[in-house]
């Protein structure tokens, strides 16, 4: 891969990689680490992409893989006495809606992000997350249900606005 090709993909999809990692890890430093790792993998890749979309799909897939690895190991790096732990800290840059999504389990929020923000199809989400299409559909459905319950529990919200996140 030439420097020009690398820079083109990095500049166009770097934020997408970062957002995938952030949805998985809910930590800006960790998400930045994953993004850097993904960019290194991109730079080392020798096979050309067929198109920008092909490159984007590859980047999202690798971002999910790298995030998953960091997510699996995160318990090791953050040993906090249970009595001191009150859940992941909300980043200041999270809006209220994003914050609600981030209260879900990683598999729900990643699939929601890929489907609703990146505009991936269920099949593309399944490929990125190494899951079956029916599993992804279940994740999206359960994610929406959990979100509704969460909003109801928080009070004041009548749930997800009908017709928008359905």
């Amino acid at each position: 891969m030439t420097n020009e090709e690398f820079e083109h993909l990095a500049r166009n999809y770097g934020d997408a990689v970062f957002r995938v990692a952030y949805h998985a890890l809910r930590s800006r430093p960790d998400a930045e680490d994953v993004t850097q790792t993904v960019l290194l993998k991109l730079y080392e890749r020798t096979e050309p992409f067929e198109s920008d979309e092909h490159g984007k799909a590859w980047l999202l897939r690798v971002a999910v893989n790298e995030s998953r690895r960091l997510l699996s190991s995160s318990w090791r790096k953050r040993i906090i006495p249970l009595e001191d732990w009150d859940g992941p800290a909300r980043e200041q840059e999270e809006g209220d809606v994003l914050s609600s999504i981030m209260a879900l389990e990683p598999k729900y929020r990643i699939s929601i992000y890929l489907y609703y923000y990146e505009g991936c199809s269920v099949r593309e989400v399944a490929q990125a997350m190494k899951a079956g299409e029916s599993t992804v559909q279940t994740w999206l459905q359960r994610g929406r249900e959990k979100l509704r319950k969460l909003l109801i529990e928080e009070g004041g919200e009548s749930g997800v606005r009908s017709g928008n996140l359905s």
Binding site: G14, R19, S67, P106
Partner: protein, 228 residues
Amino acid sequence: MFDLETYRDDCSRLTLGQDKLEEMISVTEKTNKKRLTRPVRTVLLTAVLAATLGTAALAANPEVAEKVQMFFGYTFAFTATDGSGLEAGVVVKPGNDAANIIAAGELPPMAFEVREGRSILTLDGKELDVTEAMEKDGYYQTEGDSYTLRVLPDGTAVVKLDNGTEDGISWTFPLTAEGAQLGDSKEVWYGTMDDEGNITPDEEGVQIETPHTFTEDEDGNLIPVGEE
């Protein structure tokens, strides 16, 4: 009000920032792959292992450290325990300076026995009578933060660690009335990783018979205790 457009707006504001992205691009392009000679890689590799497995007392086998170097350049994975729980599954990508964890989790100490006709599972110091669950379902199952534990009536434990995939990573091992813990179950096995970071563990594992303890030297190398 919650709606999709607001979510999209929130996501749009979640960016690396232009300066950070350009810095990452620059760092990536300046990375000199040839810099990573074999000795350097070995240090990096062992440093990652030390960080992954903990720098305090670590039950494993001295062969592990040798295998790290012996099989350097190949993908490998192993689990190790410190007697209190399963430590980790680790895969290191060949020809790269980064270790990749395929599954990691911490399990509580556990033991199983049949006492006066009742099936008793001791989990993290707490005794559970799982007789009825076993009679009804054929097993007792419980879930932790990153694992699912299923105990069969014969004392066989099946642990599935969540690694973010549908299948997870599974181990099967015996729990005995003598209080056997996961520290008695150690394996080394190998797998391969493609350029997207997908790992396929090989089926055959290599059993480690003798627990050992490692410390870490100032360069991050794992040193078996007694051999510093």
